[in-house]
Amino acid sequence: MPVLEVDNITKLYGESVAVDTLSFTIDQGETYGLLGPNGAGKTTAISMIVGVLDRDAGQVRVGGRPHSPADRRSKALIGYVPQDLALYHDISARENLRFFTKLYGMSRAAAAREIERVLEAVGLADRADDAVRTYSGGMARRLNIAIGLLHRPKLLILDEPTVGVDPQSRNAILASVRELAGEGVAILYTTHYMEEAERLCDRIGILDGGRLRAEGTRRELVGLVGEHDQVVFKVEGDPAHAVPVLEAAPGVGRVQRVEGEDGEVVAFVADARAAMTELMAAVAAGGVAVRSVEVREPDLEAVFLHLTGRALRD
């Protein structure tokens, strides 16, 4: 049974449709990414799922229970990490966490245990008693996430948690999310960073203009637009010599010499990793001197461009 079932949720602002009949599900331990540019409707969709914003149509079920803004039992199953920092800056991290353990009805002993756990998990144990206003942006982001993890939710919803975060903190956040998924937590993750969605998510929904344009694993989405992996060879001497050699190799769709790049030839294959051994054998047999080899997999940027006619960061 899916942990989260979203069924045709819709939000209207006057004549404008912010989210249009959005549907998807997330299973236990699965990480689902909602990928879309700013203004695509990600935050509105999440706000409706969490119960912060009223829906104009559609249903949401959490843990098999119909979920509404007034349903406290289904709300208790959700850990929510809003896009904006939702912290009290004049009090310490520990006091912030303690406040939310009380709102979630945790016992004193459980609260103390979980506070220590999440502080360790986000690497803030040594600064737990400092006022949040003294934190760096990355530390505040990590505390923002820690609050969402406090009550061990079955469904964790993270709304662009890495916006404005330094690379080190971003990596730590992504690692934490992967770990949680490994523990069986269902995760809904919104981002407009294509790389994050590719690294983190088991399945991805591409949202644009409030509508889900496509959904699937990264490979399924790439397959939708017929893109292929690229194996880029840099060769010694005339690259024209390498073209027929590569064209003759098994599994190669076509070969293209790259104009303007010194000695670069690109072989288009369905699966670069699978084809690599035979390609290397072919160029060796053909007497092509290879300086370097690079694999370029088709990315979601291309998929988004194909589906919407716009770049992801437009």
Binding site: S47, Y80, P82, Q83, L85, Y88, E95, K102
Partner: protein, 381 residues
């Protein structure tokens, strides 16, 4: 209820840490009450003493000024004439000089005043005017008594003794006793005036949660939405009662304010805090941001404070005195006046009931509008 209490305790901790409560609840009202009492008078330990001098007019000196000096109301110096008086006033050594005609009865009674001692000069003018009026009255009475008679001095004295005793002012009547002394009046006025500024911190707390991004987290938590509003509202009431209580105790110790029957004062404080919190929450519910709410409440607090007579006694002109009846200030102060007149808790039943009625009406409107304050109209990112 538990969630509301959790939110309340968190808010109290934040307010104490950022000193908002201390500033608006205690420091400002107490400081202003002290300044007003000091500048406008009222503390018996700091009684007004005029520094006067007199030139000529032995009768005026002996009948009016000397008795006042002996009672310690004024200091008195006798001078040879106008020039000496003017010189002392210029030097600031006396507040006013009376220059009395030599016979004390005809001519001009002049007051030379120091421009830097307006109150003392006004008092001096009042004394001079009273003396001149009395002389004129006496002369008139004598003229009437002697009309058509050939009276001698002995008969005049007999007539004067037979005259009825003039009307005297009895300052012990209840109406006059039901008046706050200046220290209590200023402390009470400032307390209820600044109560609005403390209450708006709680009333606009939802906007602060929204601006800080934490409102969505509170709404997403498994707690009823009303507990968020309740936590904020109860916070205003609790902080209001605490700051008023501390202010009353402190003003009693530092300013000599006399508040009266503790039970009556407690009832008035509780009802006033509820009424002010209701008004503040209604005003805040029309705002969009914490800043806007604070600005609007400041305007409302000032207008109500003026009409309620919390800042200064309101003029008895036209409808002005009646406007005060729609303000909590007016009822709080009139309740305290009842207690100052020796009344017990039963004497403040009417003001307390009116204040509670204000609280119920405004509280009802605030609850009705609280849904709007909690509404999230988030973006579509």
């Amino acid at each position: 209820m538990r969630a509301a209490l959790t939110i309340l305790l968190k808010d109290l901790r934040q307010q104490f840490r950022d000193t908002t409560l201390l500033t608006f609840g205690l420091a400002l009202p107490l400081g202003l009450a002290f300044l007003l009492t000091l500048t406008l008078g009222g503390n018996e330990k700091q009684q007004f003493i005029g520094r006067y001098a007199v030139a000529g007019g032995a009768a005026f000196t002996e009948q009016v000024l000397r008795p006042m000096a002996e009672r310690g109301y004024i200091t008195l110096r006798e001078l040879p004439g106008w020039d000496a008086g003017a010189a002392l006033v210029d030097k600031g050594e006396v507040d006013a000089v009376f220059v009395v005609p030599p016979d004390g009865r005809t001519g001009t009674l002049e007051v030379i005043g120091n421009v830097d001692a307006a109150i003392a000069v006004d008092v001096a003018r009042g004394l001079a005017q009273s003396y001149a009026t009395e002389l004129r009255t006496t002369g008139l009475a004598v003229a009437v008594a002697m009309q058509g008679r050939d009276a001698d001095a002995g008969e005049l004295a007999r007539l004067a003794q037979a005259a009825p005793t003039p009307v005297a002012l009895d300052t012990s009547t209840p109406v006059l006793r039901k008046q706050l002394d200046p220290a209590t009046y200023h402390a009470a006025g400032m307390a209820v005036f600044f109560l609005f500024f403390g209450a708006v911190v709680s009333a606009a707390g939802i906007f602060a949660e929204r601006a800080g991004g934490t409102l969505v987290r509170l709404i997403a938590a498994p707690i009823p939405r009303w507990s968020i509003v309740a936590g904020k509202s109860v916070g205003g009431v609790v902080t209001g009662i605490v700051t008023m209580t501390v202010l009353i105790a402190t003003s009693g110790l530092l300013l000599g304010a006399r508040w009266g029957d503790p039970l009556g004062v407690a009832a008035l404080v509780a009802a006033t805090v509820l009424a002010v919190c209701g008004i503040t929450t209604v005003v805040a519910s029309f705002a969009r941001t914490a800043e806007q709410a604070s600005n609007w409440v400041s305007i409302v607090a000032t207008v109500l404070g003026v009409f309620g007579g919390a800042l200064f006694p309101i003029a008895q002109v036209g409808l002005l005195p009646y406007l005060g009846y729609v303000t909590p200030h007016r009822w709080f102060l009139s309740g305290l006046a009842e207690l100052a007149g020796g009344g017990t808790a039963s004497a403040v039943v009417s003001p307390v009931l009116v204040l509670l009625a204000i609280a119920v009406v405004t509280g009802g409107v605030a609850v009705h509008r609280s849904g709007r304050m909690l509404r999230v109209t988030g973006g579509v990112a």
